[in-house]
């Protein structure tokens, strides 16, 4: 019997697990995919928002501010890629400037760092910004982050402190019993005293399984371009545009912590949150919008496109609270932007709510607030490279040439507390295959290393999620 079972291991579930790890509790995390951070956590803008955007008084406003402070500390402590970076909200008209002034006022109320720049100020702060802009909101409180590493790091600490991570477990029902809940999965039943619903775009379904139909998911898809590092060098800020009449933040142009450039997203309703397809019209619109903010972006250097589906709901705010029908379930729903920024604060909030519902919160003795170190060869200077390769020659065997990722780093990842089982899971941990050739050269080699290290047949190594098999058998074999 678990004290708390968390449903979903995106950044929200991972943050809840991390917050719970410091208490003497038996925690389980169920995740339907074969890895953590497979939903909105892996496909978003990878931004820590400064906190000027949410309306004052909302959960979003308070948790965003708390979240980015906590995230900064967590990233430092757990060695998660994180880089403070100024942000701009560009205005292209007097109407836009009104919006900027409103954001400024909101930012002030939310205690965010904000100021208004005129055109000259904008171009001084960000020479790549379009000269057509007339001004901007500027903040120094924003940052860029590796979102899947952020979630992974928090989940790893939870696992190190004894949490069970049950991958490839899809929740199909919840039964309410005396003093407990039975969570039914496609791989058996799990008993728990409390449930934290962190199922992202599927939080509505989980909530309804416990009888509460008040959560209404209205997922919205956003598409992105990833561009080569040649383009990432061109900007030194997160560049937003003024929200349009629908209130969307608009297409942003921002470097990633790995030095690439992101351009996106749009925001379109998407009934099926598992539909991660891209389409030509949206991508064309995004390209246009990105170019109007930063005209120097060269779209000949795109390397990938992706779609993220935001777990938005009918509410304008996060839906965080005790289920209306089941006092043993905490809903963490509607965690769309600024969800990544707010995650650590949402995790803490989940713990507070569980405490109020009667969960005994006793500090865990010997809580381990760290995870095994990560070697990132490409970031080491020459002397450090020499030293780590001397210690482990596998760091000298470069597998991914575009991102300079060594066999040592891949083997390290395969021996971590949460074992990556697919080529994309390795990519999310080590960047192998994330570069300009998109795994063209290294994926067969990564494939082989996974098979060798985990002792699984080549045929059973997936590209990404379950069912995404890469090879169909040996050559020369008779088909029967």
């Amino acid at each position: 019997m678990y004290d708390v079972l968390i449903i979903g291991c995106g950044v929200t579930g991972a943050a809840a697990a991390y917050s719970l790890a410091r208490y003497d509790l038996k925690v389980g995390i169920v995740e339907r995919f074969n890895d953590v951070a497979c939903g909105a956590t892996k496909a978003n803008s990878a931004i820590m928002h400064a906190g000027y955007d949410p309306h004052p008084g909302t959960k979003m406003a308070s948790l965003n501010r708390l979240g980015i402070k906590a995230a900064k500390k967590i990233c430092k402590k757990l060695d998660v890629e994180y880089r403070p970076l100024q942000s701009l909200v560009l205005a292209f008209s007097e109407k836009d400037m009104e919006a900027v002034r409103e954001l400024y006022a909101r930012g002030k109320k939310n205690s965010a760092d904000v100021r208004i720049l005129d055109r000259k100020g904008v171009l001084a702060a960000e020479p790549a910004a379009s000269p057509d802009c007339v001004g901007a909101l500027h903040s120094r409180d924003s940052a860029i982050i590796n979102p899947w590493e952020f979630a992974l790091a928090m989940a790893e600490v939870a696992v190190i402190n004894g949490a069970d991570l049950l991958l490839e477990h899809k929740v199909t029902g919840i039964r309410r019993g005396r003093g407990k809940l039975t969570v039914v999965t496609d791989r058996g039943e799990l008993e728990t005293r409390f449930v934290v619903n962190a199922a992202g775009a599927f939080a509505e379904d989980i909530s309804a399984m416990a009888g509460d139909t008040s959560v209404k998911s209205l997922p919205r898809a956003g598409q992105y371009y990833v561009l080569d590092k040649e383009e990432g060098k061109k900007v030194n800020s997160v560049i937003f545009r003024c929200p349009d009449e629908n209130g969307f933040k608009g297409v942003l142009v921002a470097p990633t912590v790995h030095g690439n450039l992101l351009v996106g997203p749009d925001a379109e309703p998407r009934a099926d949150a598992d539909d991660l397809s891209t389409d030509r019209e949206s991508l064309d619109r995004i390209m246009k919008s990105g170019l109007s903010s930063v005209p120097s972006v060269n779209f000949r250097n795109i390397i990938r496109e992706y779609t993220g589906v935001r777990p938005t709901t009918s509410e304008k705010d996060f839906v965080i609270g005790v289920s209306r029908s089941c006092r043993r379930m905490i809903n963490l729903a509607g965690i769309c932007s600024p969800g990544l920024s707010s995650a650590p604060a949402i995790g803490d909030e989940a713990v507070r709510l569980l405490g109020k519902q009667g969960l005994v919160l006793k500090r865990r003795r010997g809580f381990i607030d760290e995870r095994p170190p990560v070697v990132r060869l490409a970031e080491l200077d020459d002397e450090e490279k020499r030293r780590v390769i001397e210690e482990n020659p596998l760091y000298g065997n470069i597998i991914c040439r575009c991102e300079t990722v060594s066999e040592g780093e891949i083997v390290d990842a395969l021996r971590r507390p949460i074992v990556p089982r697919s080529i994309d899971a390795i990519k999310r941990r080590c960047r192998a295959g994330m570069g300009r050739c998109q795994g063209g050269f290294c994926s067969p080699r990564v494939h082989e290393i996974i098979s060798r290290e985990l002792g699984v047949p080549m045929e059973d190594v997936m590209l990404d999620k379950q069912g995404s098999f890469i090879i169909t058998g040996r050559t020369g074999a008779e088909e029967n």
Partner: protein
């Protein structure tokens, strides 16, 4: 730190690197080093197990591994050293001469100093992301070269029902290869109204097996959440935009991409060496030297070749020039810039120094569209200094024209190469 010195250091042990090393040795370089990132030399030829290599250079038909093997043997017969499993992280080019930084499993982090460096990193394949094919992101979508590695090197089948996008040579070769392995190749889809592959490959790899080639078509949708289930194919108009109402689906589990090759010049760029936007390779002089003195380049890292035989010839020249540079030879004198005229996508070299040009300078280029009877004109201002006739030209095949020294001496500082249809205008020649 102990830095070893070599007269000529060659980055990459594929066909370009091996030929450059052999030639550097033949031209007097005493200490030559080849740095290869893979476990063995030979580069991408090792996975090209089909034949058709070497007709020009060896005057016989070899497979890729045989061609590579001959050059590996030639290198073994020289004093050149080869290090494998070694990845070059970057080159620095201070006044004192180039320094190469690299890592390997056996020797850790190392630096080599060199009298001259030859860049032979080859090229990589353009990916789905680079051409932004919309749709789902299932497995079963991969570049033809990656598939070739899985099938020919590792012995794994990568699918059973296959569609190929792009009619570049690797795609065509893989159409035949997958058919021979028992897979069903359903279609080869080409955006252009003509194929970008060699004509012999169209015949031998598609027509001989009855594989339909859809010209002026492209893949406009990818469907499947785990493994690929089907692709949508649409006809495109003359601006290469999909035409509404022409879409049809093909059920398949694999989409192979043969949509172009990109020279791998990250090291080159990081070293601040000038890159030609047309070739995506370094701008080179007649002896294959880049804009950085002492740094030479050859093979697919300079421009994507159609035949390995031409890579070899070019690399022989680069290796020779690198050896001479390491021995102290410096070239001066005037520089003629080659300009891409009508119908010409690029030229290599981009610059010629007549004083160093020898009797004849060979200029390579590709034309932009397939052409029947044509005239290639080489103009210096309004004066034609040479012209060449062709019965047939295609973007898939490299063109080569010889420019004699005597003509170069008569030319001004820019020379334009252009192509036009033969006809009454051609009679000016």
């Amino acid at each position: 730190m102990t830095e070893k010195y070599y007269d000529v250091a060659v980055i990459g042990g594929g066909p370009a690197g091996l030929a450059a090393a052999v030639s550097a040795c033949e031209h007097g370089a005493a200490k030559v080093l080849v740095i290869e990132r893979d476990k063995v030399v030979g580069g991408i030829l090792n996975q090209c197990i089909h034949n058709g290599f070497g007709l020009h250079y060896f005057k016989e038909e070899l497979t890729g591994p045989e061609y590579a093997g001959r050059f590996a043997e030639m290198v073994r017969n020289t004093a050149a050293e080869v290090v494998t499993g070694t990845m070059v992280l970057g080159i620095d080019t201070p006044e004192s001469g180039p320094v190469i930084r690299c890592v390997s499993r056996e020797d850790g982090y190392r630096e080599y100093r060199a009298g001259a460096v030859v860049l032979c990193m080859g090229c990589r394949e353009r990916t789905r992301g680079a051409i932004a094919i919309p749709g789902d992101r299932p497995s079963g979508v991969m570049t033809a070269g990656t598939a070739q590695r899985y099938v020919n090197m590792e012995g794994y089948m990568i699918g059973r029902r296959i569609v190929i996008l792009g009619s570049g040579d690797i795609g065509l070769i893989m159409a035949r290869r997958m058919t021979l392995e028992g897979a069903k190749v359903l279609a080869c889809v080409e955006l252009c109204p003509y194929s970008n592959g060699l004509n012999r490959n169209i015949v031998q790899c598609l027509e001989d097996y009855g594989i339909p080639l859809y010209l002026s078509h492209t893949v406009t949708g990818v469907h499947g959440r785990g493994r690929l289930e089907r692709v949508t194919v649409s006809r495109v108009d003359d601006k290469r935009r999909p035409v509404e109402g022409t879409a049809f689906d093909i059920e398949c589990d694999t989409l192979l991409l043969s949509v172009g090759l990109i020279p791998e010049n990250e090291i080159t760029r990081d070293a601040g060496i000038e890159i030609d936007r047309r070739t995506n390779g370094p701008t080179v002089y007649e002896n294959m030297m880049t804009t950085r003195p002492g740094v030479f380049a050859c093979g697919n890292v300079v421009h994507v070749h159609d035949l390995v035989d031409f890579v070899t010839a070019e690399s022989m020249r680069a290796g020779a020039a690198a050896a001479e540079y390491a021995a102290g030879k410096r070239v001066s004198g005037r520089v003629i810039k080659l300009v891409n005229g009508e119908g010409v996508n690029y030229t290599v070299p981009q610059m010629i120094r007549p004083d160093n040009a020898g009797k004849v300078t060979e200029v390579f280029f590709r034309t932009n569209i397939p052409r029947k009877k044509s005239v290639i004109r080489v103009m210096s201002g309004d004066t034609q200094i040479a012209s060449f006739r062709r019965e047939y030209m295609a973007p898939g095949e490299m063109e080569k024209i010889p420019l004699p020294r005597v003509l170069l001496d008569r030319a001004g500082d820019t020379v334009t190469v252009s192509v036009e249809p033969a006809g009454e205008a051609a009679d000016r020649a």
